[in-house]
């Protein structure tokens, strides 16, 4: 099996990981496992911020060697934040985001970085701000109900489904009222 990260080498490490509530099969080669932060090896100096950041960003430096071919590839791939105009290349150089939207813009490249910095973690598990949070809680509840609704419809339990549908409507009305205030 081919490594899903580099699509070059043979995948030698196979495991599943629950990322953002979704179970995913991971097949990677040893190099990518290390470089993309899937695993950390004991003895690796992860302790000073400096080493951490240096370690974080040098994995892509190799693929950015100034050969014409690579340059083209980098240019084509470089993402740019629509809000603050920071590019992914700049981000890797500075090690800081330009704005909150950068997180969205670079999202497909960030998890390896987060995994390395935060011991394998990619998902927030802490405080939710009060005002923003009340909507977030509602949103999560609506999602759960919607899944239940699909399930009930599949099983043709329409009476139950109607109850859940009304609950969703009520929550949606709450949510909209909350957003307006």
């Amino acid at each position: 099996m081919q490594c899903q990260e580099c699509e070059e080498r043979q995948a030698t490490l196979h495991f599943s990981q629950t990322i953002n509530g979704e179970k995913k099969e991971i097949h990677v080669c040893e190099k990518c496992a290390k470089d993309k932060g899937y695993v950390t090896y004991p003895g690796e100096d992860m302790h000073t911020l400096h080493n951490l950041l240096a370690g974080l960003f040098n994995f892509d430096q190799e693929s950015m060697k100034p050969t014409a071919q690579h340059e083209k590839l980098t240019l084509k791939k470089d993402l740019e934040c629509p809000e603050c105009s920071m590019t992914f290349t700049q981000f890797k150089k500075v090690g800081k985001f330009g704005c909150a939207t950068c997180y969205e813009t670079f999202s497909s490249h960030l998890d390896p970085i987060f995994r390395r910095v935060h011991s394998g973690n990619t998902k927030h598990n802490g405080k939710i701000p009060k005002r923003k949070g009340s909507n977030l809680h509602t949103k999560k509840q609506i999602e759960t109900y919607k899944e239940q609704l699909q399930e009930l419809i599949k099983r043709e339990e329409f009476e139950e489904a109607a109850v859940i549908r009304d609950k969703i409507r009520a929550l949606q009305a709450d949510k909209e009222a909350g957003e307006e205030s």
Partner: protein, 355 residues
């Protein structure tokens, strides 16, 4: 100005209070990194944006009181002299970063007792920080959450469902929280045990740092222990983990202190009294030597070798003998040898206040 009056001004009032385990834990701190949802982070923000952020904070929270934190006052970095800035750094009310990368609209909002401070337009729009005397991480977290809610009542934070609080640096994303304690660990340092414990502490996602003085290297046997991970763990779990490590360090330090007293009493006494002598009699003293001696004297106080000197002397002199503070006391810029002289004077005078 009399030294007593100067001390009253220079030592934050929270620092004078005694906290739990204050023979070993000097202070507990929680810092939260927060950003406005619709503004570019300070590094790339326009001057207008930076000013807008400053204004929002200054008008909504300046001159306000929140629970026991009274009369927040806003201090703009552009209004301060170099010495004034150093003093704020030495009192840990602002970071060196705020000065080094000084932006338009950068400043700090400080509560009257200096327990709460909020840096504006540092690396993030807001860095909320609370200090507690002694070992009180849980209390600090509870209070930090309350202050955070108060700020959030008028500001939309940059927050993402899966990534949490969005910060300029990927090392702060998630909770945006850094919990830390300052510990005085002379026995673990003398016996070289701390070095051996550091890797195990790192394994738990915690970092140990020496407190740096004018030179380099850990001075005064004071160390800061803090969390490295901010994503994937809840605030309570982070504090819980730090708490248990600090507890173990406190136990170890106490145990080692009593072992030292049992096995090498005369050597410990010699070390303590020599340092006490230096502080009482020197006429020129550098910050490195001062820190070492102050640490030894504080150990002597904790072990009952030196009586009639208050425990607080370490916290106080650590701040008072820093270059910025000395120059504020002198009301002029001082050359290094002038600082060494004034430092020795202040220490002698401070010790006399005890008698």
């Amino acid at each position: 100005m009399r030294l007593e009056d100067f001390m009253n001004k220079s030592i934050s009032s929270w620092m004078r209070e005694e906290g739990p385990h204050s023979d070993i834990v000097l202070s507990s701190r929680i810092r939260l990194a927060r950003n406005f949802s619709d503004e570019t982070f300070p590094m790339l923000a326009s001057e207008e944006q930076l000013e807008r952020i400053r204004e929002t904070i200054e008008t909504n929270y300046g001159n306000q009181t929140f629970q026991s934190y009274k009369n927040f006052s806003y201090v703009s970095m552009s209004d301060l002299t170099a010495v004034g800035k150093s003093v704020l750094i030495e009192k840990h009310l602002i970071s060196p970063h705020l000065i080094k990368k000084q932006k338009r609209g950068s400043g700090v909002l400080i509560s009257e007792n200096e327990q709460v401070s909020m840096m504006v337009n540092e690396e993030d729009h807001l860095r909320i920080q609370l200090y507690f005397p002694g070992f009180q991480l849980h209390e600090a977290l509870k209070e930090a959450n309350a202050v955070d809610d108060w700020i959030e009542s008028k500001i939309d934070y940059a927050f993402d469902e899966t990534k949490g609080y969005l910060t300029a640096c990927p090392t702060n994303v998630g909770t945006g929280m850094r919990a830390s304690v300052m510990m005085h660990l002379p026995a673990l340092t003398i016996t070289k045990q701390l070095n051996r414990m550091v890797p195990a502490i790192n394994q738990l996602g915690l970092v140990v740092r020496g407190i740096y003085g004018e030179g380099s290297g850990a001075v005064g046997n004071v160390f800061q222990i803090s969390n490295q991970i901010t994503l994937g763990k809840s605030e309570t779990d982070i504090v819980e983990d730090l708490n248990s490590v600090v507890h173990q360090l406190v136990e170890r330090e106490r145990h080692t202190r009593s072992e030292l007293m049992n096995n090498s009493k005369i050597q410990v006494e010699d070390r303590v009294f020599r340092s006490y002598g230096v502080l009482e009699h020197s006429r020129l003293i550098g910050s490195q030597e001062a820190s070492t001696c102050i640490s030894n004297v504080r150990l002597g106080i904790d072990l009952g070798i030196i009586k009639d000197v208050s425990q607080n002397i370490l916290n106080e002199l650590m701040v008072l003998t820093q270059p910025g503070c000395l120059q504020q006391y002198a009301k002029s810029a001082l050359k290094p040898h002038e600082r060494d002289q004034l430092r020795a004077d202040i220490i002698r005078e401070r010790l006399q206040l005890e008698n």
